[in-house]
Amino acid sequence: MSRVMRRSTPRFKQWLTSAFRGTVMGLLALGALVGCSPVDPEPESAGTQTLTKLITAEQYGNSLAYIFGSGIDAQVRFAPVARNEGLLANSLASAGVSVGQVQTIQGVASSVAKQVMDIENRNHLVACRPESIDSPDEACATQFVSKIGRLLFRRALTDDEIATFVGQASAAVKELDGKELDGEKLDGFYAGLEVVLEGLLIHPEVLFIVESAEPDPNNPEQLRLDAHSLASRLSFFLWNASPDDELLMAAENGELQSPGGVERAVGRMLESPRLVDGMRAFFDDMLVFDEFKTLSKDATIYPEFTSVTAQDAREQTLRTIIDHTLNKDEDYRDLFTSRSTFMSPALAIMYGVPAQPGWAPYTFPEDSPRSGLLTQVSFLSLTSHPGRSSVTLRGMALRERLLCQTVPEPPPGIDFSVLTNPDANYPTQRQRVAAHLETPSCAGCHRITDPIGLSLEQFDGAGGYRLTENGATIDATGSLDGIEFDGAIGLGEALSQNPALPQCLVRRVYSYATGGPPENDARAALNYFNEDFAAQGYQLRNLLRTIALSKAFSLIKNSPSEEERLLATTSSR
């Protein structure tokens, strides 16, 4: 019953949205929704593999912030990983750590440990007081190591482990107490603890999230994530951080996998403000916003586009998405037509509007040429060259990032003279790229990208609005999968109605949640998520809940290597 109630609300919202939109399509969709029966239960699922994932710099930083508070300046920077099927997150289960990177991580660890044990912080970050600050105190060290170690390792440390680290701390006290280093006289107890904390922070179990499986008690033939691995998978998925104390406790005392346990845990996580961090990280990844780190424009061509513009453009889109999907629980598809956003003074210059200091909600007026994410400076500037727009990059980005389609790489060894000769001085991009579409070796791909990009041509390479290029009026007609329109607003409308749009989000969220691109046998699960997402009015929070609670999320495939691991683990632990 409660499940039905939960679903009826979004449907009502969907009805309202459609009614306001007043489109035939909307009414048709409504009819279809009202007519359909509730979504069938989740199909049988093979589950996923257990993975050994490299923690990201952001996750490491978020976890440290949870453990030590935001006052610790972690300056974490890890090597960038390759994008795999649309997400950086999909590569974490195969990414390695280079020798050089270990040194970088050690540097971070050393700096964090030093800050924690600094006289300003240690009294509140080390919960106990040593008997004396210049000699070992095993009780206090044990308390610190076991508490911090549990949060860092995402599991309780074994007695042996605790004994080892406490022993190291005590030995270090003798080595360090009273020594003068970098102009400071060391207090032995804290100096010893600092060295041990530094070691914990570079421990492979902290840097690698090792998932493990256990037989499912309800079906001993089937494997599932064990409680700690489930807690970690949930926490990195929804919060982009290690599990908190409460979640770890639920994993430790069996509550998490008891009836209703995971529903309670997920419910709590979805209502937590930390969900915002998690979803910002997800959309940052999905929208390829890591490119902002290196985005720069030619200052002589776009003097109005500064590094602050770039930073704010990213922030604007993330704020828009979070507000739309989590604060207002609105239909994901409407992000591409919505006129609601947020504005900062630096960004307002690009949009030609006034702005107050700081961030404030902003609605593009009805007669503005902008509505939806595609018309925001982030998308437009990121998919352009430093000195001009690119119809191909924009079309490709829309297909790959938002519709999960693959645009093939250009063939090698092309003679581009057809494109450039005899006269490359065409005033507009439409004329310049026309050659793509006339040349058979190019047309195949450019036909699926360029008509999208051409409809965004009224926005220049920095995201500013323009009506002409080199004096010629821009023709912004374009098309997307058979739907034709004139300009960016039409493109946004067409995209929002494209069935691949929500399906792509589902695919990306599921890969992000489980750590890798879905395998072929996940198709049934994906179909189920798609239907459920539609039935629940394309609300993100509901999609997260459905995926987090699904069998496809927590069941583990039986495989020879998994069995080998299980045997090895049980015999060694």
């Binding site: 306001f20 007043g22 003097p303 500064t306 030609g352 107050q356 007669d367 503005s368 009026t473 607003i489």
Partner: protein
């Protein structure tokens, strides 16, 4: 609604032909581009450069045939109190005495030579409506220009276009938001020609937006009006725009921020603006009279001995010249003029002005 900028109205209305989708706001959509910077007949500009202007065509030889003033405050001190003899000086009769001269300037004769600028051409406006023999001709050939300040400071290195005051005044004007000075035009029907516009001056609160090259300013930024402490900077005056040039009627007293926060401002009497306007920027001059006493006081408070001496400025000597050349506001008792005419070159960049009601 009137279209303000010529040449853009044709592209204002765009229709978006949609294949299956009809927008709720069917029909016309006004783009953000054609009229980017004004709303309801208003357009704002914020000051990004300011310096007292000297007409320097022909170079030093033309205006200062006898050379430039060479004795700034330190040089004068050294001349008066040579340290190479046996003479013993007290602080009171040396430093404190000279300090006193700066803060309580006199019009009495002094031993240092002071060179006035020569020439017949100056920037500025005809402030008194008369063409007097000692008036200048503008570079555009207009007679009756009042700019006696040019004579008074035109041969002092610190005030010339390569001098440090020109550099530092703009640097401070740009760098500190307490010096933010802006104007808003309202009732504008056409930025090229409009015989009745209102110009209001304000102090702003926010930083300027520099462009990606680091040395330009971007139009389209926003500035809040300082409604709390900036009331003294608010003046309203009528003006007209002819062929893109705005000229205002005089404001009795306008307050202009100078440089340092604690000094705040100086008064320009019978203040007038003459600015070439574009949707993105305004540049030209302001002209008016400054009271020699107040101006000298503010000069000393803004720029200490080291700034003055680098530009071989001595405010005590300069004061004498200003009083000697003063051309308005006679002292009711002595009949001697107390204020001197002058002009400053200014540049402004368009900005959205946010009034208290909009903040």
């Amino acid at each position: 609604m009137t279209h303000f900028w010529p040449g853009t109205t044709g592209s204002q209305v765009r229709t978006f032909a949609l294949f299956i989708i009809t927008l709720a706001a069917a029909g016309a959509a006004t783009a953000e581009l054609p009229e980017p910077y004004q709303k309801d007949g208003r357009i704002g500009y914020v000051l990004t450069r300011k310096a007292w202007v000297i007409y320097e065509a022909g170079g030093v030889e033309a205006q200062c045939p006898e050379g430039l003033n060479a004795s700034g405050v330190r040089q004068q001190f050294a001349d008066l109190f040579p340290m190479d003899g046996d003479e013993q000086w007290t602080v009171r009769e040396t430093r404190l005495m000279r300090e006193g001269r700066m803060w309580h300037p006199e019009t009495s004769e002094e031993s240092f030579p002071y060179l006035d600028a020569q020439g017949e051409v100056a920037y500025g406006l005809n402030l008194d409506g008369k063409v007097d023999p000692d008036d200048f001709r503008s570079p555009d050939g207009i007679e009756g220009i009042d700019n006696q300040l040019q004579r008074a400071i035109g041969c002092t290195p610190g005030w010339r276009s390569d001098g440090q005051f020109v550099h530092f005044e703009s640097l401070f004007a740009i760098g500190h938001s307490y010096n933010r000075w802006m104007i808003e035009l309202s009732g504008v029907d056409d930025l090229s020609n409009d015989d009745d516009v209102t110009v209001t001056t304000y102090r702003g609160l926010d930083d300027l937006f520099t462009d990606a090259t680091g040395d330009g300013f971007i139009a389209g930024g926003s500035q809040r009006v300082d409604a709390r402490w900036g009331q003294n900077f608010v003046e309203e005056v009528k003006g007209k725009i002819v062929d893109g040039v705005l000229t205002t009627e005089p404001v009795k007293v306008a307050r202009i921020p100078w440089a340092m926060r604690f000094v705040g401002y100086y008064d320009v009497l019978d203040f007038q603006l003459q600015l070439k306007l574009t949707p993105e920027s305004a540049e030209g001059i302001f002209a008016g009279y400054v009271n020699a006493e107040q101006w000298t006081n503010r000069l000393n408070r803004n720029w200490g001995s080291h700034h003055q001496s680098y530009g071989t400025v001595s405010s005590a000597s300069e004061y004498r010249a200003m009083r000697r050349l003063a051309d308005a506001y006679p002292d009711p008792e002595t009949g001697a003029n107390t204020a001197i005419s002058g002009a400053a070159e200014i540049e402004l960049t368009q900005v959205y002005i946010l009034h208290p009601s909009e903040q």
